[in-house]
């Protein structure tokens, strides 16, 4: 197909024009990665701590995320609310997120305000104050967050159950937000201990992308982060998941209308960008199965057989822990969860048994390569890519190698990867069993009465 070739050409030109990031390590072990991009007078600043829910223990699940909330509660130097006030008055946006693998704090500001946010992040890296009364209020907020994102969202509950079923030993088996029971039993001391253990310059990576001069950023980093002392972090155990020996399944009952299934297949992740080929092949398999309307699952199950109303596949090849290919699908009206699951598994088995056409592979490849180009429209997305690679034990330099590796994958490798990983032995199926809402009859409009 001609379009595919032309796209490769354009992409080659594109990667040649991109500035490569600068990398620095401060004396205290903090790593700094700076990528210049002068398209707009703004900058993204992200602090990545290599501590996520996979570093937690049973009984205190969710503490990484709870600490993330507490990081906005003031330090010895800046009182409660000062952090957000100073960033807001500088015209900045700030927030944070916690994942299984890391906790990330981020700010977007005009380039002139970068020194301010570096100073604020450096301050809370070492000087956080965790007040028991603030913790008591914030843990309630986190429980509301859990209710909102999980308890009342059947499809989120299904993801939670899928993971807790798929993993027997690895901490990916518990949700990053934590079990509600653990949140109820959590103490401010748990949050304090977490902070003491993991928040250190030698466990952090700072990523800066935007309209900046790398040498100036380094100078600011030395003045802010450079003043902090290195400290010992807990030894990390190797966390391995024993081999799965056959399909697992779990059912979740919750109020919903449409049957919904989510399948997870255990899969490898990227450890050596130069040598590994399977993660690239699996990325392409996920894309050609469920990356767009043109992908196989949509074509067969939504358009031809009308078993599903929506369907998609997803795989992250960069991860600290074990990988998984996910497929999610919602049933069409009148179709059962069983019909839906059978359909999905048939289409996937077809790829494992018979492989894919060169046309399908090229389509998936062009989509993934184009997405790498589109990512460059956003400083934030670029910073995420660099930080994720570094925090997962790879190198930010791998970002430039991914396109090249994707281009090398052949249809034979696609079939081999599918035949090895998209099989029942490593499969977990989670099925949503829709329950009637059963509302009490009273649902009435009442005129407002002035109090």
């Amino acid at each position: 197909m001609v379009p595919a070739r032309a796209a490769f050409l354009a992409l080659t030109l594109v990667s040649g024009a991109q500035a490569s990031p600068h990398e620095f390590t401060l004396a205290n072990g903090l790593r700094l990665i700076v990528k210049e991009d002068h398209r707009a007078p703004t900058v993204v600043h992200q602090v990545w701590y290599r501590a996520g829910s996979m570093d937690e223990s049973p009984g205190t699940t969710g503490v990484a995320h709870v600490l993330e909330h507490m990081m906005f509660k003031g330090t010895r130097r800046f009182g409660l609310g000062e952090f957000s006030r100073l960033v807001a008055e500088a015209g900045g946006r700030d927030n944070a997120f916690t994942s299984t693998d890391f906790t990330v704090y981020h700010e977007q500001v005009h380039r002139d305000r970068l020194p301010l946010v570096m100073q604020l992040e450096a301050d809370r890296m070492a000087n956080l104050v965790i007040r028991p009364e603030e913790f008591a209020r914030e843990i309630k907020v986190v429980m509301e967050e859990r209710r909102r994102s999980y308890e009342d969202r059947p499809r989120s509950l299904l993801i939670e159950s899928l993971l807790s079923t798929a993993f027997a030993a690895h901490p990916y088996k518990w949700p990053t937000i934590g079990w509600m029971e653990d949140l109820e039993n959590m103490s401010w001391r748990d949050a304090r201990d977490w902070y003491k253990h993991w928040y250190a310059p030698n466990n952090a990576i700072v990523v800066v992308v935007g309209d900046v001069d790398p040498q100036k950023v380094l100078a600011w980093a030395r003045r802010s982060y450079g003043a902090l002392a290195r400290k010992a972090t807990p030894a990390r155990k190797t966390l391995a998941e024993p081999a799965q020996r056959g399909a697992k399944r779990v059912t979740v009952k919750a109020p919903a209308e449409l049957p919904y299934v989510r399948l997870g297949y255990k899969a490898p992740v990227l450890r050596d960008t130069a040598k590994d080929w399977e993660p690239f092949a699996i990325s392409l398999v996920a894309e050609l199965l469920g990356g767009s309307d043109a992908a196989r699952l949509h074509q067969v199950l939504v358009r031809e057989r009308r078993v599903a109303t929506s369907i998609s596949a997803d795989y992250e090849m960069v991860s600290r822990g074990p990988g998984m290919v996910f497929v999610e699908a919602a049933a069409a009206q009148g179709r059962s969860g069983a019909e839906l699951e059978t359909g999905v598994r048939e289409v996937i088995a077809g790829v494992a048994a018979s492989g894919v056409s060169a046309e399908e592979l090229n389509r998936a490849r062009v989509q993934l390569l184009a997405q790498l180009v589109y990512k460059r429209d956003s400083f934030f997305a670029q910073a995420l890519e660099l930080g994720e690679l570094e925090a997962s034990g790879l190198s930010f330099r791998d970002a430039d190698r991914i396109a090249g590796r994707l281009k090398e994958i052949t249809v034979d490798q696609i079939r081999a990867a599918a035949a090895r990983y998209l099989v029942d032995d490593g499969l977990t199926v989670a099925v949503l069993d829709p329950q009637p809402l059963n509302p009490r009859p009273a649902s009435a409009v009442v005129p407002r009465v002035k109090p």
Binding site: P41, S84, E144, R148, A294
Partner: protein, 422 residues
């Protein structure tokens, strides 16, 4: 630590505006920094142009544009888009219906993608089989939505805020079931004319190529007429609707029709709302309801301006047994704010944040596309973005107080609580 004065606004976004041969309005921002072209084509064909009986027709019509056209079948069209590395997204709201297409700027890819979009927009066939499938899917999704407390709350609130205006219509399994293929064809004919079309182009192509692209996307459209959307009648008296749902949280929404896009009160309300519920941790609602009491994770207020008076909306979710307290507190915060307005210090902080943060509103092609598409659709001045910092800076305390007092009557807010306490 030093805090310098607010950063000066940088060189703005240069918009090139013209009218296509067909009469469609076109706005173009040339930018060669990345090999990407973003195109949005939007029509005055949002849900406001549905009838109450056939609510959902607009959204279904938009979905059907992708289902096959004179040159490409549904499958061919989706493959052509994918083979070009392009991404096609449906945009649909109360006023607007259309697509945003993101493509590589290399000629072969861009042309394959835009030709496909051009045919979808101008020569759709509405195949019977695809219609039945899309209709069934819309009905299934509407049924699913009826089980989701957040969706139920929003739907019921809009119905209360707009009892007689199409902004309050919402699609249900019944309204969708009444739609026939001919209705879709009719809706397309009446709403997808050039007079109702706005084309926005941002990215790596020159003016000549942009002109040719705008022609390609609109020259085959019917002329069409520019619609006049009915005004929103006087505000309904406030009512509270409690809806039973087995959710662990109560979903609480308060709102009222308040602000049109081209309204002179836009800036006073926008700036004022920062201190009420738009400015995150800087806002009163978040401070009182989340920070001080831990009632909710998310609590906010916003104005969403449309062609006619779009809603002012306050929302929160909280554990069922504290929903009453949280709702009363939200009402009290809004009431107090409407009565007295923000403090001088709050207004100053809001302006600093909004002016200083202006560069973040236009630092990606995607954000520029969305801003320019709104400017084009609502016929805002082309200098709207350039003037934004000065307009924010110019807002006075008296203007905020006056605008809130005139636009928001705390006693007339419509209120919905889904998953209401027993």
């Amino acid at each position: 630590m030093t805090l310098s004065a607010a950063a000066p606004a940088e060189a703005g976004v240069k918009i090139d505006h013209w009218t296509a041969e067909s009469g469609a309005r076109v706005n173009f921002v040339e930018s060669h920094a990345l090999p990407i072209v973003d195109v949005a084509v939007e029509f005055a064909a949002g849900s406001a142009y549905d009838s109450r009986e056939q609510a959902g027709l607009g959204r279904l019509t938009l979905a059907m544009l992708k289902a096959g056209s004179s040159r490409y079948s549904e499958t061919e069209a989706s493959r052509r888009i994918a083979d070009a590395g392009a991404q096609l997204q449906e945009n649909f709201d109360l006023d607007r219906a259309g697509f945003a297409l993101r493509s590589l700027s290399s000629e072969a890819e861009r042309k394959a993608a835009t030709q496909t979009l051009a045919d979808m927009l101008q020569a759709p066939l509405f195949p019977v089989e695809a219609f039945e499938r899309e209709k069934a899917s819309a009905i299934a999704n509407a049924r699913e939505a009826e089980t989701q407390p957040d969706r139920v709350a929003e739907r019921r609130l809009y119905a209360l805020m707009y009892p007689a205006h199409p902004y309050g219509f919402s699609e249900t399994p019944d309204t969708l079931a009444s739609i026939r293929r001919e209705d879709v064809e009719r809706h397309y004919r009446s709403c997808y004319g050039a007079a109702r079309a706005v084309v926005t182009i941002v990215g790596d192509l020159d003016r000549n190529a942009a002109r040719a692209l705008a022609e390609e996307l609109t020259s085959r459209l019917s002329k069409g007429t520019d619609p006049a959307l009915a005004p929103v009648a006087a505000l309904p008296a406030g009512a509270t609707l409690r809806v039973a749902h087995p959710s662990t949280q109560s979903h609480v929404l308060l709102g009222a029709a308040a602000l049109a896009r081209a309204d002179p009160d836009y800036f006073p309300l926008f700036v004022g709302n920062y201190s009420l519920g738009g400015g995150g941790f800087m806002s009163r609602l978040l401070r009182e309801i989340r920070e001080k009491r831990g009632y909710a994770y998310s609590v906010y207020s916003y104005f969403r301006p449309y062609e006619r008076e779009g809603p002012f909306l306050v929302g929160l979710e909280t554990r069922r047994d504290q929903a009453r307290e949280a709702l009363e507190l939200a009402r009290a915060v809004v009431g107090e704010f409407v009565k007295h307005g923000p403090t001088e210090a709050e207004l100053k902080a809001a302006k600093k944040s909004l002016v200083g943060g202006f560069p973040l509103r236009i630092d990606t092609n995607h954000k520029i596309l969305e801003q320019i598409a709104a400017i084009g659709f609502y016929r805002l001045p082309l200098a709207w973005l350039d003037e934004f910092p000065a307009r924010v800076e110019g807002v006075t305390l008296a203007q905020v107080r006056s605008a809130f007092a005139r636009r928001i009557d705390p006693e007339k807010l419509s209120i919905v609580v889904v998953g209401a306490p027993d």
